[in-house]
Amino acid sequence: MPPLVGLVLLVVLVSVLSPYFLTVQNILNVLRQVSIIAIVSIGMTYVIITGGIDLSVGSVAALGGIVTGLCLKQFGLNLFLAIALGILAGAACGLVSGLLITRVRMPPFIATLAMMSVARGVALVITGGRPIFNLPDSFRFLGGGLLLGIPVPIVIMAGMYLVAHLNLGYGKVGLYYYAIGGDAEAARVAGISTNRVRMYAYLISGVCAAVAGIVLSSRVMVSEPIAGLGYELDAIASVIVGGSNIFGGEGFVVGTLIGSVIIGILRNGLNLLNVSTYMQQVVIGVVIASMVSISILRRR
């Protein structure tokens, strides 16, 4: 399948161009770096499969990180409680987006655009625009620790992808996401509770975004209200490069993972080769466009 082929070609190309690329350390680095966007992209995959979109993921990631950081630093809460509350904040955002889309029938683009603004605003208001630093050392493990020699963010990413893959592919509700994305009206007539399933999709997206934001905060040991800027674009790119149909009805999380890795390797390779600042913008855009074109043309 095209994303995998693209990945292999990219790996070969960058390995040839830079001797520093194909080392264990560098590969681990790349995987750890993409893990945060990859986690966000899981939720985005669900949402796109149902035929929607979630532009708020970056802001929700920041909010999740802020809530957890606040609980840890300001309120001195237990680590697990702080993380749970951060995830809850993300779930709440997802819930509100889902309600706007299903009950008020707002187009997902508009509803999540509004949430993008509100969540970011709330994060800014809570922090007064300043980062929350000097987080307790116990928090470091999530973003910087190792589990059986593997960086924790990679473990979390792998775990979440496994769950999502099983859920979408074999779970009872899994099929419904695709059905709604394929033909929402037909799905509804067939007895699928389209509203409820859509709600799940946006809820999952909010949760994934929050988890990503918390892992991010742990990685840099700071909670910033301006974190996660542009995540929505990277996540959407990952999903599309990974082979999902932007209009919904088709897609699979494994493809999204490959898409995230492709984008991560691109950035990593461009850094390693010290490609000029301005040229990087061009390269990333061209690669994404090519991969998506191939994906669309193949479908014809």
């Binding site: 509100v118 605003g121 625009g129 980062p131 840099v220 950035r267 390693l272 600042t277 301005y278």
Partner: protein, 325 residues
């Protein structure tokens, strides 16, 4: 039942932004205050402007006659947004317009329009006159000069090192005013010097995590770096974390820019070597000083230039320049 839910949600949505922006971004000035300052930073993306805005607000709150409206563009690339804000404030007839410009050429027409309406204009965070426009006052210092100081730091470090110095740079958003000016100043000092080698200069878009990621990648190819310069403190701190994680904390020095509290603390502790403080709080206070002079009819006492010294914050003076927040 559904109508209630719908109405409730709409109410919630409209309330949220109002609550968020209640801090003086719209509406009439507070009761009793007669003199209104319109303060337009470059963006709130950096702690630097949050500090400046807080200082302006504090000084205005302490003055019973001066009110300040702080309206910020979304980010530093939002040049058009800044122009719109200037036009809006002009329409509202503020008594003083204090702006830190995202694009010196683009804002000139809107600032001129404000002046033609009788609104005095002061420029913050740059002391180079704008093209074709004479403003009442220039306050602060040039980003370019800050870059020069960083370059001088590098030369000093190189001399201490006694051999060729290898450094990497983490830049902000390519093309942005602050980024280009700082790099220009830096290059003017360092370019052509055979003893300083810039092995990598990569954009990290002012973002901490992107800087950390970029630094990790650069370290793959260049473990033998001596110095890293993050063109703002957020990126410098991200790079410092990457360097620490790689176990290279004692080998690679990190320089920043902006004088954020977190960075000054790092300089004091020794995890960063230096940062550049353009004294945003002092700039903010000066805005209200000028406002008070104008309000009390002492326009002739307003200077055309308030040059505020740039502080090269290092370990020996970090305690003195520690920001309050």
């Amino acid at each position: 039942m559904r109508k209630v839910v719908v109405l409730g949600l709409i109410a919630l949505l409209t309330l949220c932004p109002s609550v968020l922006f209640a801090g003086g971004q719209s509406g009439a000035p507070a009761a009793g205050k007669t003199f209104v300052v319109g303060f337009v930073p470059r963006a709130f993306v950096s702690v630097y402007f949050v500090t400046m805005a807080d200082a302006v607000k504090e000084a205005a709150d302490a003055n019973p006659n001066i009110d300040v409206q702080i309206v910020s563009p979304v980010n530093q690339t939002d040049i058009e947004g800044q122009i719109k804000i200037i036009e809006d404030l002009t329409q509202k007839n503020v008594d003083l317009l204090a702006v830190s410009v995202n694009d010196p050429k683009a804002v000139v027409p809107s600032l001129k329009a404000a002046q033609d309406k009788g609104i005095p204009v002061i420029i913050l965070d740059a002391i180079t006159p704008l093209p074709n426009l004479e403003v009442m006052s220039l306050i602060g210092s040039n980003n370019e000069d800050g870059g020069v100081i960083v370059g001088q730091n590098i030369l000093e470090l190189q001399k201490k090192l006694g051999r060729k110095l290898k450094m990497a740079i983490l830049e902000g958003v390519p093309g942005q005013y602050a980024n280009e000016m700082r790099m220009k100043g830096f290059r003017s000092v360092v370019e052509g010097n055979p003893n300083v080698e810039i092995v990598a200069s990569q954009p990290a878009n002012w973002q901490r995590e992107l800087a950390m990621t970029t630094m990790e990648n650069i370290l793959q190819a260049h473990r033998d770096l001596d110095v890293v310069w993050g063109v703002n403190d957020g990126m410098a701190l991200g790079a410092a974390t990457a360097i620490q994680n790689a176990g290279l904390k004692d080998k690679i020095l990190v320089l920043g820019y902006n004088g954020d509290k977190e960075a000054v603390e790092a300089v004091l502790k020794g995890s960063m070597y230096s940062t550049i403080l353009q004294q945003p709080a002092e700039i903010g206070r000066t805005v209200i000083k000028i406002a008070e002079l104008l309000r009390t009819g002492k326009k002739s006492e307003v200077k055309s230039l308030y040059q505020i010294p740039i502080v090269n914050v290092k370990q020996d003076n970090a305690a003195k320049w520690m920001p309050a927040k």
